[in-house]
Symmetry: C2
Subunit: 385 residues, 2 copies
């Protein structure tokens, strides 16, 4: 790809697609399985500098996509703002006047990149459960292949929250020499039993839906009820006791008194039902299974704490900005502190900030001037460092 | 009922049944609906004193039953220990050598008392969703009718954890002159948005099961998958991040490595699946809907904080022992503190203890010498006070 093509991607602000690992040269996955061809959907923002040293890779969370900033109009003519538009753009925390921002849809997802809904070349039909289980490491390897294709061999920073934060950390472990700085937000270096438990409930609710059919539902009835419940579980974990009290409390929905029935009496019930039903129109149930499994498998503790494993990282010199939120109970602050301690032991330059916020795990997605300033200052320091 | 019959109930240690509100004299419910006949299953332990002043009423939690202590043998010859056998018995925290203990199955449940699985006299078929929505207040009123029948007009104490704690508090508000002391454990004076959210996910998972059939599944296939997932949600809330780390961490189940599939890789997944599937053999899905709804409706804040409402309680003189657990995130300590402050404002004699425990909401059910001593001392003080 030439810089002219990159120029083009910047101006269009639309999704682009890169396909690699055409059989017989499939991608090797961590499980030992092989996968190909692999398509990665991505978007870029800003301009690549002539010395190619201003690249910021943004890794999205579980249900995100490559459209991180700006406003796209979809096929139905509906405006679709980027999922982190408050953070990414000209003059913003991640300033697209200065940095060349890349965001790609993760492997296993359903937002343009190859996942269980993609066509299996061996059968000509959607993979379903024949799609191999992928890991956070596999997602990062696919991103690395995309960067190779874009002829980018150095990242000014890799930034992501939640599952995106796991990718940021995995980048540092897999390709430490390529990464100058990393900003893992609201994340963990290993998925806890509690986080696994919530994911398992979500998966079971999909797999209990008779329309799921062992994952073979493409072109048929889809497991919407199961997926909606899985999303409801997710939304409970994204909020917090505090956030829910503030946002909903015990306020009733459209009523002055209890229904004494099983309709949604409380606003929090309506909210969850709405979030569940909205999600099924945009997300594939099997992708939820695969991405939650990748998160559950995520565990960098050995790589970040055992002497033999940290050599690569010790050799590197990565600046870290670790950010946690007071009310995040999916990946609580103590887990970020564990991460900070481990990174410091490898000799890295680590800054840590716990942001006081009562909106739970989702806080990193909510417009917050403090966070924008923090990241802007940090990136500026790295760029001039 | 004569004292001779009570004597009998003490010796048998088996479930007894009391039926009242025979049509046309149905029980009036808080919703305005009428219900009858109503059967309440109960068990008693110890001996009623001649002055009838040694009665301790134990209120069970969401999925509990009347069998609080001792060991029963069920129809299949399987030994069934009481759900609080560590606390209730001769010489124990609630000493059946001193106190006459009553525990009844709550209205709406499926452990012997009338609930949605009971026969609707109007149709000759199980109620299903024709069963009226009941409240914690209705459960307490049914208990009151049972006590009237047993000719008991004073409770030395009413004790319960979780939904049982709500009943204990409701007793104090509804019948303050009958209650000398109350021990609400791991509970709240109003169900929070977070607790409602979890209950709503559980209800939706049942209602999404095609076997649920709008609650009309008796004698047909039952909504086992939905009920199992609802129970998994429950178990996540009963534990805690700490408890899960200690109990499971990231330990794998029967394997040395990941399955790279959707089997249960982690012990926490197997645990939840097991708890879910075990529950369906003993609990009715509709009862879960009704009891969670009653908990969601529970809100004594007005009755415990507004000047007009607390008059009855102000006139009374109830000794309270409020107990919370450090790792309970379903009904966190701050909610118990709110309760303590409200009770103190009504002039009650309130003791409060937050017990350090890392096993989450379920802590009150786990044998704990500290709790036994605390309750034993408190009851002794009330009895001699």
């Amino acid at each position: 790809m030439t810089s002219n093509q990159l120029q083009h991607s910047k101006n269009s602000l639309g999704q682009q697609f890169f396909t690699f690992a055409e059989p017989p040269d499939e991608m090797f996955l961590e499980s030992g399985a092989r996968l190909g061809p692999v398509t990665i959907a991505y978007e870029t923002y800003g301009q690549l500098s002539t010395s190619r040293d201003n690249v910021v890779l943004i890794a999205h969370a579980f249900s995100g996509d490559s459209h991180v900033a700006g406003c796209l109009t979809d096929d139905q003519g509906e405006a679709k703002p980027g999922w982190w538009d408050s953070m990414v753009g000209p003059g913003k925390g991640i300033d697209t006047n200065r940095y060349f921002v890349i965001c790609s849809n993760i492997l296993g997802s359903c937002m343009g990149s190859t996942g269980p809904a993609a066509i299996n070349p061996a059968t000509g039909k959607p993979y379903g459960l024949d799609f191999p289980v992928v890991t956070i490491g596999d997602m990062v390897d696919a991103q690395k292949t995309l960067l190779d294709h874009l002829e980018i061999d150095s990242l000014l920073a890799v930034i992501g929250g939640s599952v995106g934060g796991m990718q940021a950390l995995e980048w540092c472990v897999r390709y430490p020499d390529m990464v100058r700085a990393a900003v893992p937000l609201a994340t963990t270096m290993r998925h806890s039993a509690l986080a696994i438990a919530f994911n398992e409930v979500a998966r079971q609710s999909i797999m209990a839906d008779p329309n799921w059919c062992q994952g073979d539902y493409y072109g048929k009835k889809t497991p919407d009820l199961g997926l909606a419940i899985a999303r409801m579980v997710g939304h409970v974990t994204y909020l917090s006791d505090q956030a829910m009290r503030k946002k909903f409390g015990r306020r009733l929905q459209d009523k002055k008194d209890f229904s004494f029935g099983f309709d949604a009496d409380f606003q929090v019930e309506s909210y969850l039902r709405y979030q569940g039903s909205k999600f099924v129109s945009r997300f594939d149930a099997n992708s939820l299974l695969y991405i939650t499994k990748a998160a559950d498998y995520f565990d960098l503790v050995d790589k970040l704490t055992t002497k033999e494993s940290i050599q690569d990282l010790v050799g590197a010199s990565i600046k870290f900005l670790v950010i946690s939120y007071t009310s995040d109970w999916l990946y609580p602050t103590y887990q970020s502190r564990e991460l900070v301690r481990s990174l410091k032991r490898t000799g890295q330059d680590v800054s840590f900030c716990e942001i006081a916020a009562d909106c739970g795990h989702d806080a990193f997605l909510i417009p917050d001037e403090r966070l924008s300033k923090l990241i802007k200052g940090f990136l500026g320091g790295v760029a001039h460092g």
